[in-house]
């Protein structure tokens, strides 16, 4: 099939994308990373907006400041906010999207009408969406008073004003948690491969798990995390954890995106003609149990797409949070907002670039190995 000329054509078809992304993504990214190693905006004798501003290289100092300086506590808050937002937003959207998909897969009257309704939240501009949710989540009005329509007691949740922090932890314990989670995941993967008698993969996974423990035990983290002098006073200033104020943002985000998750899953279900699917697998009988056994495997690749799409949305989330709680609410601040305000409001361009780079690094560290494994499986 795949003769050489065709394979060349295939490669050439990808080239425009690569050239364009090479400039618009990688070249710009390179500039951003370069800026993050300079003192642009940090040097009072070199005003940030000068025409030929002299940027001096200061290495990783911006990163060090961001991770340890007490003034940058908001950045560290934004990292934990981003993490918890990501987890609950993705889980919530997938759950709701799946529910909607299954319901609408049941030969409903006026299916198109309902589908459009569930998609419509995405159509609204974020300024308006954020404002509306802000109004709805006012403690003295909106959603809290909805039960009164049914004669029940109103809620008393503070929503965006809440100062509660759930799942509290202190910043210096993060290496321990990371080690634990990393070890658990790798151990589970190893066990799965053992069960499949895939000894090579299993030993590879076990070795990785061992390395993770070794890194922790050898005190490598102590060199990178603790000596950066994480302010121990910080726990008393702002306990880190899942800020309850985020719940409102998560709900608004799920509201906006679960319709699209439904669209992806439905496309996955309906996209490939049924006779083709059934030809490629053993056919079963058509009761509810088997329905479930066919749906989930069919949707698995689409769940991955969905997680990536929702994931990138949550990493870059900006517009919604900006409109809902403004740029200065420490309980709901996100890295995307900080890049914007630090850069354009404060002229701290180097810091803003560093924040953007850190987020990108987090993505690379977590997503790329996962993708690499997935792609290997495909072959």
């Amino acid at each position: 099939m795949r003769n050489r000329q065709d394979r060349l054509t295939a490669l050439l078809m990808l080239m425009p994308t690569f050239i364009l992304l090479g400039i618009f993504v990688y070249f710009f990214l390179g500039k951003t990373i370069y800026y993050s190693t300079t003192d642009w905006g940090e040097n009072p004798s070199q005003p940030a907006l000068s025409e030929n501003v002299i940027r001096q290289n200061i290495g990783l100092q911006n990163y060090q400041n961001l991770m340890t300086d007490i003034i940058q506590a908001m950045f560290r808050n934004s990292l934990t906010n981003m993490f918890f937002f990501f987890v609950f937003f993705v889980v919530g959207s997938v759950a709701v999207g799946l529910l909607l998909t299954i319901i609408l897969d049941q030969k409903i009257v006026a299916e198109t009408f309902f589908r459009t309704i569930f998609l419509s939240p995405m159509a609204l501009s974020f300024v308006v969406t954020g404002t509306i949710w802000r109004w709805l989540l006012q403690p003295d009005g909106g959603l809290n008073y909805l039960p009164t329509v049914f004669g029940l007691e109103p809620f008393h949740f503070n929503w965006m004003n809440s100062q509660d922090v759930w799942f509290q932890f202190t910043w210096d314990k993060v290496p321990q948690y990371l080690t634990f989670v990393g070890f658990a995941i790798l151990a589970l993967l190893a066990v799965r491969r053992v069960l499949r008698q895939d000894w090579r993969s299993a030993s590879f996974m076990s070795a990785l798990a061992g390395i993770v423990i070794l890194i922790f035990a050898a005190g490598v983290w102590d060199r990178i995390w603790l000596p950066l002098d994480v302010p121990e006073a910080e726990p008393s200033i702002a306990p880190k954890g899942f800020n309850a104020a985020l719940v409102g943002v998560i709900i608004a985000a799920i509201w906006q995106m679960s319709g699209y998750v439904m669209a992806i899953f439905t496309a996955g279900l309906r996209g490939i003609p049924e006779d083709l699917r059934e030809a490629a697998q053993v056919d079963g009988c058509s009761n509810l149990k088997v329905y479930t056994h066919i749906i989930l495997p069919q949707l698995r690749p689409f769940v991955i797409s969905t997680i990536i799409i929702l994931g990138h949305t949550s990493l870059k989330i900006f517009d919604l949070v900006f409109a809902m709680s403004g740029p200065d609410n420490a309980r709901t601040v996100m890295p995307g907002i900080l890049v914007y305000t630090k850069g354009f409001r404060q002229n701290s361009f180097a810091q803003a670039s560093a924040i953007a780079t850190i987020v990108l690094l987090l993505v690379i560290i977590t997503a790329v190995p996962y993708l690499y494994v997935q792609l290997r499986h495909h072959e």
């Binding site: 940090e42 300086d69 003034i71 200033i237 702002a238 403004g326 354009f344 409001r345 002229n347 701290s348």
Partner: protein, 421 residues
């Protein structure tokens, strides 16, 4: 299939021909964040300009949203990219000087002041905040007052409460109102809290102390500042900070005042515009105002100004724009619609009928009060400081430690090159 592709390509080519921008002569680009209810004021100025210079096309470029962050993003991107607008709006003080002037992005306008005889017309305190090393860099078009104490007289009478004139009086009024379930002082989202802090600092330090803080005469971590944070904590206890403040815009906070859920509100005089124009209330009767407790005779000001960037394409037209801005007609065309007072001290008395009761009162105060620049609105501290000050405020609110907040503030001052460092 091929035919469709050709058709598609043709449509595409046609559609792509639309758009694109060519530079023109006889153009003036004014870049501001005024839109919505602030739009008519600027449009009146532009109309006046067009009467004098009918062959110049004025482009009213506004970028709104994000409380000015979007405006700054576009402006700074353009400036760094070498595409400055002919004139842009900027707050007087460190926001102008600390960002643009020391970066050598603005042209000297002292000659214009001399030509127009503006030295006697703008208060010296204002001119000082437009100058750097003896040269003046922008033209102020209006003055807003920050930190005014707003209340509804009928409600205060109903509660048997009088307007406090010192912080101690405020604390006792506060205790009284709280027992009755009324919020003594209503605040909104983060920046309104900074706005309040400004006034508390002014009240505790006095006008001279406040000035000294920003010019290096008072240490941000010293005992006076610790007293400021202590007082601020007591004032915060009298607010709705932990109930519903985070999600309230300043208008919504004002709505609570009007609805009788709160007694006082500390906000700039754009509240007067909102109460009079949007809600139709009468100044002096339906709503009242006073100096923040402990700040009698002090006027906390902020000013919108326009300057002349370096290397603009239409310099002559821009200079005429600035000339118009500083003129009597210009200021009196703009300010009544904007709901602010002219920066010129002689403007209101020329046509007092254009200004309502509140504005006339404020104009009188502007001419005789002790002037103090607002920190929240960019007069006395630069943009870097103001961005990081949010963090200082959050540290205080979380820890309630005055010492912690004071030392954090000192660190911010040093990093930002503000407070005289």
């Amino acid at each position: 299939m091929k035919r469709h592709l050709i058709l598609f390509a043709a449509i595409l080519a046609f559609l792509l021909m639309i758009g694109g921008v060519t530079a023109q002569d006889g153009v003036l680009e004014i870049f501001s964040w005024w839109a919505g209810d602030e739009g008519p004021a600027l449009e009146a100025l532009i109309a006046l300009y067009n009467m004098r210079y009918p062959d110049v096309e004025v482009i009213n470029a506004t970028v709104t949203g994000g409380a000015g962050v979007n405006f700054r993003a576009v402006l700074k991107t353009r400036m760094l990219g070498g595409n400055p607008p002919d004139s842009f709006q900027v707050h007087a003080g460190q926001e102008l000087i600390g960002t643009w002037v020391i970066a050598n992005r603005m042209q000297d306008l002292t000659w214009l002041y001399e030509q127009e005889g503006w030295f006697g017309v703008f208060p010296q305190g204002l001119i000082d905040q437009l100058s750097y090393e003896g040269r003046i860099y922008s033209v102020p078009v209006n003055i807003h007052r920050a930190g005014v104490l707003w209340y509804i007289p009928d409600q205060l009478a109903e509660w048997g409460v009088s307007v406090p004139t010192t912080l101690d009086e405020f604390y006792s009024v506060c205790a009284d109102l709280q027992t009755r379930g009324i919020t003594p002082l209503v605040i909104g989202e983060a920046w309104t809290v900074i706005h309040l802090w400004d006034q508390v600092a002014l009240s505790v330090l006095g006008a001279d102390g406040y000035d000294a803080l920003w010019t290096g005469g008072l240490s941000p971590a010293g005992s006076e500042m610790i007293a400021v944070w202590d007082a601020f904590g007591r004032v915060l206890d009298c607010t709705n900070l932990h109930q519903n403040a985070a999600g309230l815009s300043w208008q919504q906070a004002t709505d609570l005042l009007v609805a009788g859920d709160a007694a006082f509100n500390v906000m700039g005089d754009w509240v007067a515009g909102y109460l009079s124009t949007t809600l139709g209330l009468t100044p002096g009767e339906d709503y009242g105002w006073a100096d923040f407790p402990g700040t009698e005779g002090v006027f906390t000001w902020l000013s919108d100004t326009f300057g002349l960037p370096v290397g603009v394409p239409n310099e002559a037209a821009a200079v005429e724009w600035l000339r118009l801005l500083g003129s009597l007609e210009g200021q009196n065309a703009f300010n009544p619609l904007k709901g602010s007072i002219p920066a010129r001290v002689d403007a209101v008395e020329a046509v007092p009928e254009l200004y309502n009761a509140y504005l006339q009162y404020t104009a009188d105060e502007w001419a005789k009060d002790r002037l103090v620049g607002s920190m929240m609105h960019g007069v006395v501290a630069n943009e870097r400081f103001m961005g990081d000050f949010n963090q200082v405020l959050d540290i205080y609110i979380q820890s309630r430690s005055s010492a912690g907040a004071a030392s954090a503030m000192e660190a911010v001052c040093i990093q930002a090159g503000a407070c005289g460092y």
